[in-house]
């Protein structure tokens, strides 16, 4: 019986327990369904812990995210939660930013301090995004609705006036906002650069950007983020298979089976939770990951050598 649960993966070059992979996929899928993040920042380290080489873990995870985000986008599309116009603009910027980030990393590696920059960017970004979202949501949840409504226009006006002055204004009916076309494009570039430097899909930076800088409603943010992640990961999967032979398709399918089910459940859970609750949960998750990374930086590792390829 225990023999049947093990499966040998030739690309990863190791055998895995099917149940462990399915369960891992399920948990990460649940999170991605609720928050609209790809979950790559969680899945890849856990796969490495199960004995999958870092490069194969990251690439196969992208393959899995293709399926998971298809399923998630589909579910959110049915609920009317995908802003295709905004998604395409962010994607366009993201692709440009991604290429820019890859070049930037190349230059930094030549200068010699790339790893330091990557680690610090990671911790600072996670800490900043997580901390800001957490505090903001906590304040919003504590305050009575009346004071919030009173204060909101005063706070918004300065930022709203600034972005209102930008040229090429466009209406985004699905998100219920009016913005300059430049906004999603430029923010897409920014997220793309950061994602490339940190080596992740960027979902957990993109979501706060859409919520706070593009002023989109949380539920549309999740659907649109998934839609965008789908395209990013199709690109990564094909490139990784072609150039590096690091996509383990069987591993990806197993993860997908778990994560698709998780994502479906997550979408329903996310619908039941309020926007502020969603934000505070995501913020806590991001902060936990940050603390873990900070600990890794400060504690002496057991072994002072590491394989190439991982962060």
């Amino acid at each position: 019986m225990s023999l049947d649960l093990n499966l040998y993966l030739p690309i990863a070059g190791n055998s895995v327990n099917c149940l462990a992979i399915l369960g891992l996929g399920g948990v990460v899928g649940l999170l991605s369904g609720i928050f609209g993040v790809g979950g790559g920042f969680l899945m890849t380290p856990l796969l490495i812990m199960l004995g999958i080489p870092p490069t194969v873990a990251a690439a196969s995870d992208s393959n899995q995210i293709v399926g998971a985000s298809t399923s998630g986008t589909f579910a959110h599309f049915k609920l009317g939660n995908v802003d295709f116009k905004m998604g395409m603009l962010l994607l366009l910027g993201g692709v440009g930013g991604g290429s820019l980030g890859v070049q930037l990393i190349k230059i930094l590696r030549q200068l010699g301090n790339a790893d330091f920059l990557i680690s610090i960017t990671y911790v600072l970004m996670l800490g900043f995004v997580g901390g800001f979202m957490f505090l903001e949501s906590l304040q919003a949840m504590r305050k009575p609705t009346a004071t919030k409504v009173e204060e909101a226009p005063k706070q918004e006006s300065r930022y709203a006036r600034a972005i209102g002055a930008l040229p090429f204004q466009m209406d985004f009916p699905r998100s219920g906002v009016q913005l300059s076309v430049l906004m999603p494009l430029l923010l897409g570039v920014l997220v793309g650069v950061l994602a490339a430097i940190m080596g992740v899909g960027g979902g957990f930076i993109m979501v706060p950007v859409m919520v706070y800088l593009l002023r989109m409603p949380m539920h549309v943010v999740v659907g649109t983020s998934l839609f965008q992640i789908l395209f990013t990961c199709v690109n990564v999967t094909i490139m990784q298979s072609w150039q590096n032979h690091t996509v383990d398709f069987v591993l990806a399918l197993l993860l997908l089976l778990g994560s698709s089910i998780g994502a479906q459940v997550g979408t329903k859970v996310g619908k039941k939770l309020g926007g502020e609750q969603l934000k505070i949960c995501l913020a806590s998750l991001v902060l936990v990951v940050m603390v873990k990374m900070l600990y890794d930086l400060l504690a002496r590792p057991d072994v002072l050598l590491a394989y190439m390829g991982g962060h």
């Binding site: 579910a75 072609w242 050598l305």
Partner: protein
């Protein structure tokens, strides 16, 4: 640098000559110390999860045995970790090491401290002499060979245990032995070797080897050849199947939700 290489080659040739010259009496030893590994070929199919390799052999009565399972040595590139600004642990440099076997499993018939110095080269720490640390721009600040062994032990690719070799009956002054070596599931396909050293009173009196080959079979073999020989098609197919699976699962849940 070139003269060093030449010197090494010359040494190797000389050693080979000495071994072949001495191999006649040595052969007499190996003839009386037999060794056999089962299975001789490891089939890595969809169900492969590492196996227990059984090693059988016979040695003269009263001698001890040390077994080692290794593969061909290869070069590795690693990252060295160190402290930055006296506070943050991160990758601070690159280290190239040569002559590192991917796998190394050691077992013995008695605790190593009772076997004497002759077996030191068979132990994991014995790899220290074989492993060459490449001098890159700056010298590594850590004991690379030691850390490398630790890293491989953490992965389960290096393992050392003692007392795992069990002796059997004595027939005509020859004693049989059996040992089980656990082959990790992360073994790469390729050719491997089980080496046995026969000892008496702390001196190696005989050596013997048995070949073991590991190869992909069945579905893993097909998938692997697909991924490496038709990589672009493989990537596109992987993406398409993922999208369709996602859609199908989405629809299944959708119809369930409608009820």
């Amino acid at each position: 640098m070139k003269t060093v290489t030449f010197f090494r080659l010359a040494m190797a040739a000389f050693c080979l000559f000495v071994v072949s010259a001495v191999s006649v009496p040595a052969h007499a030893e190996t003839d009386i110390s037999a060794i056999k590994a089962a299975p001789e070929s490891i089939a890595m199919g969809a169900q492969y999860d590492g196996i227990d390799l059984t090693v059988h052999g016979t040695v003269p009565e009263g001698s001890d045995v040390v077994l080692r399972f290794t593969g061909p040595p290869a070069d590795m590139h690693l990252r060295e970790k160190g402290k930055l600004f006296g506070l943050l642990w991160m990758n601070v440099g690159k280290v190239a090491v040569k002559n590192v076997p991917n796998v190394c499993l050691v077992d013995s018939s008695r605790p190593f401290d009772q076997l004497g110095a002759a077996v030191a080269s068979y132990r994991l720490e014995g790899l220290r002499d074989a492993v060459e640390v490449e001098k890159t721009t700056e010298l590594p600040k850590i004991d690379v060979a030691h850390e490398l062994i630790l890293l491989k032990e953490q992965d389960g690719m290096y393992h050392e245990s003692e007392g795992g070799i069990v002796f059997g009956k004595v027939v005509d002054g020859m004693q049989s032995y059996t040992a089980k070596l656990h082959i990790p599931s992360a073994l790469s396909p390729g050719k491997y070797l089980v080496e046995a050293a026969v000892l008496r009173d702390g001196i190696i009196i005989g050596k013997n080897t048995a070949p073991v080959e590991a190869a992909l079979v069945g579905f893993p073999k097909w998938l692997s050849s697909m991924a490496f020989d038709n990589s672009l098609l493989y990537g596109v197919l992987a993406t398409i199947i993922a999208i369709f699976s996602g859609l199908i699962i989405g629809m299944v849940f959708q119809s369930k939700g409608a009820h």
